[in-house]
């Protein structure tokens, strides 16, 4: 068994991306919270959930 093989087996995409982009980018909520039907949501911490509904680039659309 090689070390590369072990690395392959222990590849953890969630931990890698949590380190790179933060957990809030990985914990997804419904994209549209202002539609005509809406579910139960508990108040969430911005540290854990991406609550941003509008892309930073969205304002550039014309």
């Amino acid at each position: 068994m090689t070390a590369i093989h072990s690395n392959d087996i222990l590849f953890d995409d969630f931990s890698i991306l949590k380190e790179l982009v933060g957990q809030r980018q990985l914990n997804l909520s419904s994209p549209t919270t202002d539609c005509d039907c809406i579910g139960y949501t508990v108040p969430v911490s911005d540290d854990n959930h991406d609550t941003n509904q509008v892309a930073p680039t969205a304002g550039q659309a014309d």
Binding site: S6, S30, T32, D34, C35, C37, Y40, D62
Partner: protein
């Protein structure tokens, strides 16, 4: 650990992404999607719910400690467990947030043929005394129930025709509830034909979101969403959507797919991707739709989304299909019957806004001072738990939660078959998005 037996979740979905990568998701555990390489996929495929870890390691020629570490990773989101006690989304013991649809007015400046409001244009807007009573009920409920968050979706009729009537209410209500430790959030459910500089500035100041009805591009929208003069409204929606985006005001669109607009769905999808706006597609309820054409045009639309993901478009943050909740999952479809309901222009409280004006539906009123809003929800109608036995054993039961409780047929969403085809596709696209992110960071 070597004698323990790894058990796969019965709600697993495992599918290939490309020749080298796969994904796995537990459809009963929130945000559980993981990208797997071929070596990991091989291990997952070998788990038969009978073989202990040590024997599995021998069979696959993998060192025991490496295998154990991998299984620990999988168990974090219950892809596997070491017993058969898998969790499922549950109704929380304590209610923390409320969500009400508020019918601000029966007046509307459009005359859409399919409007479900039976009392449309029969009366004007909510009068000040009713608004005051609404605030009183909010205060009473927050105080008695220790609610920490409330969202009011201001709808109608056209709520922005009532802007002046809510301009004073919104800051006052936010301030009063804030003093009680409760955040109050507002959004307009609007046709977006009325948008002034004053409304824009107010929306920014009080962080008001917008849910906009959009039936399609150009003629597709204009065919159904017309002014009383007969003129279409798309050109105004297009301009005002861009204005909201330019001002960074949270906005999303909601398109109800019918036979009339489904052929235009791919064009609309391209438009919404280019705008980079969150959008929801839902399927008309209570009337027939051509299932074959629907699947064709939806598939075309998802193919466009797949291409856009490769260009960096954020599928999982921009698109929602019907009431499906592939990531956060759910114990019921909407807030009705548990944490929300609908408040009519005269203060009547219904289970859902589609019940407004229906005398056969059980209703309360905010002018009843013996009940707070949660009492009214609890003592009102309850459609939410009427689900078929098929749904109880379905892999996707926490994703679709049997659909809209008001329009179920025999306890199921009428689009059940379509969901079974498109839920895996939605996860496929999420996995592609995740894989691209990993590739962009050269992590895979």
């Amino acid at each position: 650990m070597t004698t323990t037996i790894p058990i796969k979740s019965p709600q697993l979905l495992v599918r290939p992404i490309d020749e080298k990568h796969f994904y796995v998701v537990n459809c009963s555990f929130p945000n559980s999607l993981r990208i797997l390489n071929r070596a990991q996929y091989r291990i997952l495929a070998a788990i038969d719910n009978q073989t202990p870890v040590a024997a599995l390691g021998d069979k696959l020629a993998i060192e025991a400690d490496v295998l154990e570490q991998f299984l620990e990773i999988l168990s974090q989101t219950e892809i596997i467990q070491f017993d058969d006690q898998f969790s499922k989304p549950q109704k929380p013991g304590r209610l923390q947030s409320l969500n009400f649809w508020v019918h601000t007015t029966n007046r509307c400046n459009l005359s859409c043929g399919y409007c479900y409001i039976s009392t449309l244009n029969s009366t004007g807007g909510m009068v000040e005394a009713t608004q005051k009573q609404l605030l009183h009920k909010l205060v009473q409920t927050v105080t008695q129930r220790k609610i920490s968050h409330i969202k009011l979706r201001l709808a109608g009729g056209e709520p922005l025709s009532q802007f002046k009537a809510w301009q004073a209410f919104i800051p006052e209500a936010k301030r009063i509830l804030s003093e009680l430790g409760c955040s109050l959030e507002f959004s307009f459910i609007t046709n977006l034909t009325i948008l002034t500089d004053e409304i824009l500035a107010f929306s920014k100041e009080y962080r008001i979101g917008y849910g906009v009805s959009l039936d399609g591009l150009d003629a597709d929208h204009d065919a159904t969403r017309k002014f009383r003069s007969g003129a279409g409204s798309f050109h105004m929606i297009d301009r005002n959507l861009r204005t909201l985006l330019q001002h960074h005001i949270p906005v999303s669109t909601n398109t109800v797919i019918t036979n009339a607009n489904l052929a235009g769905l791919p064009h609309l999808t391209r438009y919404l991707i280019d705008l980079d706006i969150p959008f929801r597609y839902s399927i008309v309820k209570g009337q027939a739709i051509d299932a074959e054409l629907l699947e064709t045009h939806l598939s075309e639309s998802y193919a466009l989304m797949k291409d856009a993901i490769q260009e960096g478009w954020s599928f999982s943050r921009r698109h929602q299909f019907c009431d499906l909740k592939p990531n956060e999952l759910g114990f019921q479809t909407c807030a009705s019957g548990f944490s929300g309901g609908a408040i009519y222009v005269d203060g009547t409280v219904n289970y859902c806004h589609v019940h407004f004006g229906d005398p056969t539906q059980l209703a309360h009123t905010i002018f009843d001072d013996t009940l707070d809003l949660v009492d009214m929800i609890e003592q009102g109608s309850h459609y939410e738990d009427m689900k078929s036995t098929d749904c109880q054993s379905c892999r996707y039961k926490a994703v679709c939660t049997s659909g809209c409780p008001v329009y179920r047929l025999n306890g199921k969403d009428p689009q059940c078959s379509l969901y079974h085809r498109f839920i895996p596709l939605i996860y496929d696209l999420q996995a592609r998005e995740r894989l691209k992110l990993l590739q962009d960071y050269t992590m895979i």
